[in-house]
């Protein structure tokens, strides 16, 4: 069965936003701050030729902030700048060449203040005003932990760092505002139509009917097109209103890499009490996220990071505390996994190091602590559905020949001075959908199916196909329920004028939550079906009975359901260069039920490649507030020569509230990559690492230091 979007994409015919031209269209280019932190004193514009105009904070009809959660992100900075690259104003006009020249001539005087450039600095200053943007704490009472620690055999403390990750969607960000007398239509590459619509209503101080948001073909998102496009949408819409023309804003790759959101760099501090045999008595985690210059979605990212801070384990006397800290760097935001990849990298690394202390194979050690059905979660919720982790582990041990490989590698490594082989594992889960009661209280998803007179059925939902395949999977669900051929189901690009708010395309929620609503809607339509008559059915979200989530105390069921995974990775490390070569990658997953095998395989291969690369390959750094890697080759996401073919298997474990039992799958596949690759490198070199990515530079430094100590 061909994917719905196959033809247009494979033939190259599909127009993306940068291919679009409309009548009376001008381009916008942004003047960005060159200072990390400072107060704007004056703005001097060059003489603008006819047809060229500047648009800034004064042109915003509504309040000057991008509506996300907090009101801390200006659309155009007009008092303070908080990071290098922050938009101050936009120049619009017909010719990009002229616009770039004019941009060079804008003079903005900024009084520079002392910036916070790194997470380290922010942690030191976390009690200073404005530095801590959000903070949560939960779990075992600290006095109890103290008394356990007093009696413990030993206490292991580790500090672990995770780096930036850049989305590198194939299509850079782009947004077009089409100017009409009675409405502004914003069209572009996006994941969340109604986030954008709400931001526009706020920025333009207008009514619901005055703006309309239409998704254009979207070449990848990975979370990078979750909240960031709201700002670009405000830019083009404000400009379109001001100049009464349609305005196009498209980034080239380097602009996109330098100014758009990234995965939050994090620091995790573990403090674990062990008994004589290396059993865990208690564990505390402190987690710090680098938010960058404004809060954006960081508090929610922190929540997910904390909720996953104990991994897939039942740890006795567990305590967690987390902080979102401000730095004067490019804001960080949503990224596939949403805080969980940082936590899983950290906890898997820590568990592996604890197993070394206990002198037990890492996988054996981790299995002792695996949660089981009926166990409480770290927030006093409940793992109420069956958990297949043990089966999946056993199966993967067989497929990968783990035990044999482990001994073989150790022998081979004795012989081979230059190349060392290693094998590592990761165990992980992903909570599907929004945290806590978010789906019920905030999102309130609604879907619609429309049947035309000639009995054509169309999906009317606000979710984006950004390449992940929902055109195909959701159409399949509706086709099956209606007993219609899949080819006949229509799923047009969503337009807020046509579609109800079925929620954003994030949080591994689309198949499970929106898919379930569509299944129900299709059932309803079928029961009411009248041939040759226009019909419409609507379905609303129904919340699963759970232990109510309390955001203040951080207690209750954090998620309605969990997807699970096991990865085993083999690597070969070149000890002369520190280069890591992936040799084999194995993966087992429980995603409830697969709707389409090839779409799922796409998620597995892509998610794993991205997750593995997060662990050893992709490296982004910021120096005095400036992102250093401005091109794909400098940043180094994996190519087809870096990734090996991935042997994967899916275990059925149907979930009652997902369509045919389907749970979330999009983010899960990324999460296990980095910890497994780190574990494999550690196995090869018999050296622990305290950070990802474990780059060649990190490896050479560690090997060199080791030699230095011995010599």
């Amino acid at each position: 069965m061909p994917r719905k979007d196959h033809k247009g994409k494979v033939s190259g015919q599909l127009p993306y936003i940068s291919d679009v031209k409309v009548e009376n269209m001008v381009y916008g280019v942004l003047y960005r701050s060159t200072i990390a932190y400072g107060r704007i004193k004056s703005i001097q514009l060059p003489d603008l030729p006819e047809g060229y105009e500047a648009v800034g904070a004064e042109e915003i009809p509504g309040p000057n902030y991008v509506k996300i959660i907090k009101e801390d992100q200006p659309i155009f900075a007009n008092e303070w700048v908080n990071y290098i690259g922050e938009p101050i104003l936009m120049l619009v006009g017909a010719d990009l060449n002229i616009l770039y020249d004019l941009l060079e001539k804008v003079k903005i005087d900024i009084e520079e203040h002392q910036a916070i450039y790194t997470l380290e600095e922010a942690i030191k200053q976390k009690s200073a005003p404005g530095v801590t943007m959000a903070s949560y704490e939960f779990g075992e009472i600290l006095d109890t932990i103290t008394s356990i620690e007093l009696k413990a055999h030993q206490i292991i403390e580790e500090e672990y760092d995770t780096g930036y990750q850049e989305h590198v969607y194939l299509e850079p960000q782009g947004m077009l505002a089409i100017y009409k007398d009675d409405e502004i239509v914003v069209q572009g590459s996006m994941q969340c139509l109604y986030y954008i619509k709400n931001a526009l209503i706020n920025a333009l101080a207008c009514g619901d009917d005055d703006v309309r948001v239409v998704q254009s073909p979207t070449g990848g998102g990975f979370g990078g097109k979750e909240e960031f496009p709201s700002m670009m949408a405000c830019h083009v819409a404000v400009a379109a209103k001001a100049v009464k023309k349609s305005v196009m804003l498209v980034f080239d790759r380097s602009e996109d890499m330098v100014v758009t959101t990234k995965r939050h760099p994090a620091k995790l501090r573990y403090r674990t009490a062990l008994d004589r045999k290396g059993n865990i008595l208690s564990m505390s985690v402190d987690l710090f996220l680098d938010a960058g210059a404004n809060e954006g979605l960081s508090s929610v990212v922190l929540q997910r990071a904390l909720l996953n801070s104990a991994g897939v384990y039942k740890i006795p006397h567990f305590h967690a505390k987390g902080y979102v800290l401000k730095t004067h760097t490019v804001p960080n935001g949503a990224f596939r996994g949403f805080g969980a990849p940082q936590s899983f990298a950290g906890i898997e690394s820590h568990m592996c190091h604890l197993s070394n202390t206990a002198n037990i194979d890492p996988l054996e050690y981790k299995r002792k602590y695996l949660v089981k059905q009926g166990d409480p979660t770290i927030t006093k919720g409940n793992f109420r559905d069956p958990i297949l982790m043990e089966e999946m582990i056993k199966d993967l041990l067989n497929t990968s020949n783990y035990k044999k490989k482990k001994t073989e590698f150790q022998q081979d490594n004795q012989q081979n001075q230059r190349y060392k082989k290693g094998i590592g594992t990761s165990l992980f889960l992903h909570g599907c959908g929004f945290t806590g009661s978010g789906e019920r209280d905030h999102i309130k998803a609604k879907v619609k199916l429309v049947k035309s007179k000639d009995d054509q059925v169309s999906l009317k939902i606000s979710n984006s196909d950004m390449g992940q395949g929902i055109f195909t999977t959701l159409s399949k669900i509706v086709a099956k329920e209606l007993d219609l051929p899949y080819e006949e189901i229509l799923f047009p690009y969503p337009d807020t004028k046509e579609v109800p708010d079925s929620g954003p395309t994030v949080a591994s929620r689309t198949t499970m939550i929106v898919g379930k609503l569509l299944e129900r809607a299709a059932k309803k339509l079928k029961s009411q079906w009248q041939t040759g008559v226009e019909q419409e059915v609507v379905e609303n979200y129904v919340h699963r009975e759970m232990i109510p989530w309390n955001e203040k105390t951080f207690t209750g069921d954090a998620y309605p359901a969990y997807s699970w995974g096991v990865n085993i990775v083999e690597v070969e490390v070149d000890t002369l260069t520190g280069n890591v070569k992936l040799e084999k990658v194995y993966a087992n997953y429980d995603v409830g039920k697969v709707i389409d095998d090839r779409v799922m395989k796409g998620q597995i291969d892509g998610g794993l490649a991205q997750g593995l690369a997060y662990g050893y390959l992709e490296k982004m750094t910021s120096k005095e507030g400036k992102i250093q890697q401005k091109s794909i080759s400098d940043y180094g996401p994996p190519t087809s020569l870096d990734v090996v073919s991935i042997e994967s298997k899916i275990f059925d474990n149907p979930y009652a509230d997902g369509p045919y039992g389907a749970k979330g799958a999009g983010e899960l596949t990324l999460i296990g990559g980095a910890p497994a690759v780190q574990a494999a490198i550690e196995d090869a070199l018999q050296t622990p690492f305290q950070q990802i990515p474990v780059t060649p530079e990190v490896i050479i430094d560690s090997l060199w230091m080791k030699e230095g100590e011995e010599g």
Partner: protein, 290 residues
């Protein structure tokens, strides 16, 4: 409106050379460096400040042949063409395979890599240890210059405005029977700019070293090579004594001065460069491989 540009594409090398003699032009072979160098921001065509001369189609610049013991490689041979050619030594093919990806290898040329004179040019370490010479042509005739004299710094070459690099000559390469290695260290396996490049060359008579050459890329403004250090190894026997190895590595330690940049660190580059050298010197056997 796009500005007008002048571009020449002559059928013959002679016409090309006489145009170059009349006018200061930008030479484009494959264009894979030129187009990047002059690229503008999105939506604006590249701004090349001079008239353009295309040379990639000139058959005089695309021949690969053997003359006596020497190998002549036309400057405009593309990487893809060279990979197909049986005369090209194995190590050079290995280096070419590490360059970019197929699309760029279909356009990029060996002459372009030399004339671009990037510290990270991947064919350069090998060309240095092969003692490559360049045959330059102009309306005034020909001249031959050693690659190490031709490349003077980052993107600085000793080319007169009216000259074209016509051929790259690898002297004696067809007969010598040396052992040559090439290693590129990049951040990934394709489309990567070298963090360190290394070429090693050794020729033995029995167990006695007759000739040894080493070149390092991406650790300085140009390739690092030292004939003085190399000479110290002539006449020594393999396997080399640890002290000899330490001496050579120590000598290079003093002259390799890499930098920190967005791709790697100075300390990494240096450590790895010396690791690769040490490894090459520590081999017990060297097989002829060209």
């Amino acid at each position: 409106m796009a500005e007008k540009i002048t571009a020449y594409r002559f059928d013959q090398l002679d016409q090309t050379l006489s145009q170059l003699n009349k006018e200061n032009c930008a030479i484009i072979a494959g264009g894979t460096d030129v187009m990047v160098m002059y690229k503008s921001r999105r939506g604006v065509p590249p701004k090349i400040p001079k008239p353009i001369v295309f040379i990639d189609h000139l058959s005089e610049l695309k021949r690969v042949y053997q003359k006596h013991k020497d190998l002549y490689i036309g400057a405009c041979s593309t990487y893809s063409e060279l990979l197909e050619n049986p005369l090209i030594p194995g190590p050079l093919k290995k280096a070419i395979k590490t360059i970019a990806a197929p699309a760029i290898r279909n356009r990029g040329t060996l002459g372009g890599n030399v004339c671009n004179a990037s510290p990270a040019g991947d064919t350069l370490p090998l060309l240095y240890v092969y003692n490559a010479k360049l045959l330059l042509r102009s309306v005034n005739g020909e001249r031959i210059v050693a690659i190490s004299d031709f490349i003077q710094g980052v993107r600085r070459i000793q080319r007169e405005r009216n000259e074209i690099v016509a051929e790259i000559i690898l002297p004696s390469v067809m007969e010598e029977g040396a052992h040559v290695v090439f290693e590129k260290v990049g951040n990934r396996n394709a489309d990567a700019i070298a963090k360190v490049g290394f070429a090693g060359y050794i020729r033995l008579n029995g167990a006695v070293i007759e000739d040894a050459r080493f070149a390092f890329g991406a650790v300085g403004p140009t390739m690092v090579r030292s004939v003085d250090i190399e000479k110290g190894l002539f006449g020594k026997t393999i396997p080399l004594a640890d002290t000899d190895i330490a001496q050579v590595v120590g000598a290079f330690d003093k002259i390799i001065k890499p930098i920190d940049d967005q791709r790697s660190t100075a300390i990494y580059r240096k450590t790895v460069a010396l690791n690769l050298l040490r490894y090459f010197l520590s081999m017990n056997q060297y097989q002829h491989n060209q």
